[in-house]
Assembly symmetry: C2
Homo-oligomer: 371 residues x 2
Amino acid sequence: MSFDYTVNQECPETKARVGEFTTPHGRIKTPIFMPVGTKATVKTMSPEELKEVGSEIILSNTYHLYLRPGHELIEEAGGLHQFMNWDRPILTDSGGFQVYSLSDSNEITEEGVTFQSHLDGSKHFIDPEKAIGIQNSLGADIIMAFDECAPYPAEKEYVEKAVARTTRWLERSIEAHARDDQALFGIMQGGMHRDLREKSAEEITEFNLPGYAIGGLSVGESTEKMLEVLDYAPELLPEDKPRYLMGVGTPIDLFEGIMRGVDMFDCVFPTRVARNGAVFTSGGRITVRNATYKKDFTPLDHECDCYVCNNYSRAYIRHLIKRNEILGLRLTTYHNLHFMLDIIHNIREAIKEGCFLEYREQFYNQYGVEK
Amino acid sequence: MSFDYTVNQECPETKARVGEFTTPHGRIKTPIFMPVGTKATVKTMSPEELKEVGSEIILSNTYHLYLRPGHELIEEAGGLHQFMNWDRPILTDSGGFQVYSLSDSNEITEEGVTFQSHLDGSKHFIDPEKAIGIQNSLGADIIMAFDECAPYPAEKEYVEKAVARTTRWLERSIEAHARDDQALFGIMQGGMHRDLREKSAEEITEFNLPGYAIGGLSVGESTEKMLEVLDYAPELLPEDKPRYLMGVGTPIDLFEGIMRGVDMFDCVFPTRVARNGAVFTSGGRITVRNATYKKDFTPLDHECDCYVCNNYSRAYIRHLIKRNEILGLRLTTYHNLHFMLDIIHNIREAIKEGCFLEYREQFYNQYGVEK
């Protein structure tokens, strides 16, 4: 099938745009935020709850699924959608980032990467062909090329080599890709170097893929540094294809990325902080497990109309989290995802109505963050 | 208000009966199984899910709520129903059983019990007046008298004294009870001794309470021993009042208790084993975390029509539980509670249709248990 991307509206004052991407499991509206379901489950959430909070697409991690329960098992189950009872689009990453960041040791050669499992120390080898083969087995709607993500900081020479290798591995990824019902996205690398980002973009866009990602950001650099790259990087990618900023972000990151031309985001941040008892509110982030909220019988966010804010108090949620009760983690996760997807929805509406910057200003003023 | 209990139908072959008990938060049908929400939450479940699986009433523990977050806080929140977002009936125990079984040390006198919190070792004193006062603050529909539950095994002389004290403490509990929108139930003690059970029943039923419980069972004795007591104990209590067997049971316990005249049950067993990956099926209990189910793409129970069995495979649930994913615990808990409440529902229907023993035989044959 063809993976069509249509830009329906552009913001006159910024590079923000509203569009639609078609996949075998339905269309997704962009800009979009993808909740992360690392091990074939978005932690604490049921698929029905993910839909309630407005998730149109989720991300799952190839590295984790390859190790446990194994991609063959998931293929035998009928694919990832069937296995985890999720009938909307899924994106899988290539496993590359985890191989570099999570495994106990790894050795990178032109052929591929040898790494040790962080679970049991067992040795594994992954290369572009295998990364794509695993993703073909999992059966996500969007799959990612196997790239080399240079660490941060790194010598420019190293980053340059990683860019060149990423291009060669992209060619092998495309060659290995065996399913036309999955869209293969290429990944731009280049670290914090504009010339390398340009080189990478030039090389990968030659392949005319259905979408492109910006990799190698949110890897330890400052927000200023990241935004510096985002000031030019999205525009190096084709206008008529979705641009996916990997592993980002926070509520603020959404605004900052979208106004610079980013269409897709994923991040564990909203769900991870939720499990530590931190929740987003229209007035800023609060840590609901703090003693301040012991007798606070108001909702997490008085401006929010989600299931959690309609039915539970900060005092109750604090009690649950202090007592390690699972319902506490469910409620904070539910609320934070609803918050993220509500922002994304509002941003889309604001772009359509030509008032994106106004909405951003209004959100920032209330949320309490410097612009 | 008055707490009416109506027996609608009796089983001609056994002592089983079907009835209805009226509370301020609605009527409950008996026989009933009450899921346990120790700390103001039935572990892993939302209130909506509890309703989906058929919970008409839940139990919560006074001892735990008294220690954390404190009954004053819950009263300030508007009571336990409001605090935990549960609008159906609730029963709270008196805290007595936990004081004897959970606290680090305790000293029992005629006045009350001094005990150390199992959480932080802090010293506390509880007596009938305080146990009822706490329960008045929590605001459950059914509250329990403060009793002395003798350990098992114990000298008969000790049990006899506990029976007498339980009666004196019942009188003080009744005296202290200050809310007429809560039904106060008395508790029969007497260990495994028929004469003491008779004495206890005789003394507590004098007070003409809206319901009575059988305490001091499932405290470490064998199933045979428990059933021996249940052969006569329920009938020592008034026919026109609900009889509640505290802290019991398993699927089999439901059948065995009901045929002996028990109307109400509560137990952490179905939810606790669920969190260890054990689930009830029509063919018996299975441990879904076992390797046998690694590639088993069938539902937990092929005869079950619950949300979990309609949407997930044993292989997926095993994967979630092996990876410590919260959704795994949610799914096994949901299924086990559905299983228990489905049995209870079927038993009620079977009693009404006069085929209780047939249903029991059919269930046992399939579940694989000796009668």
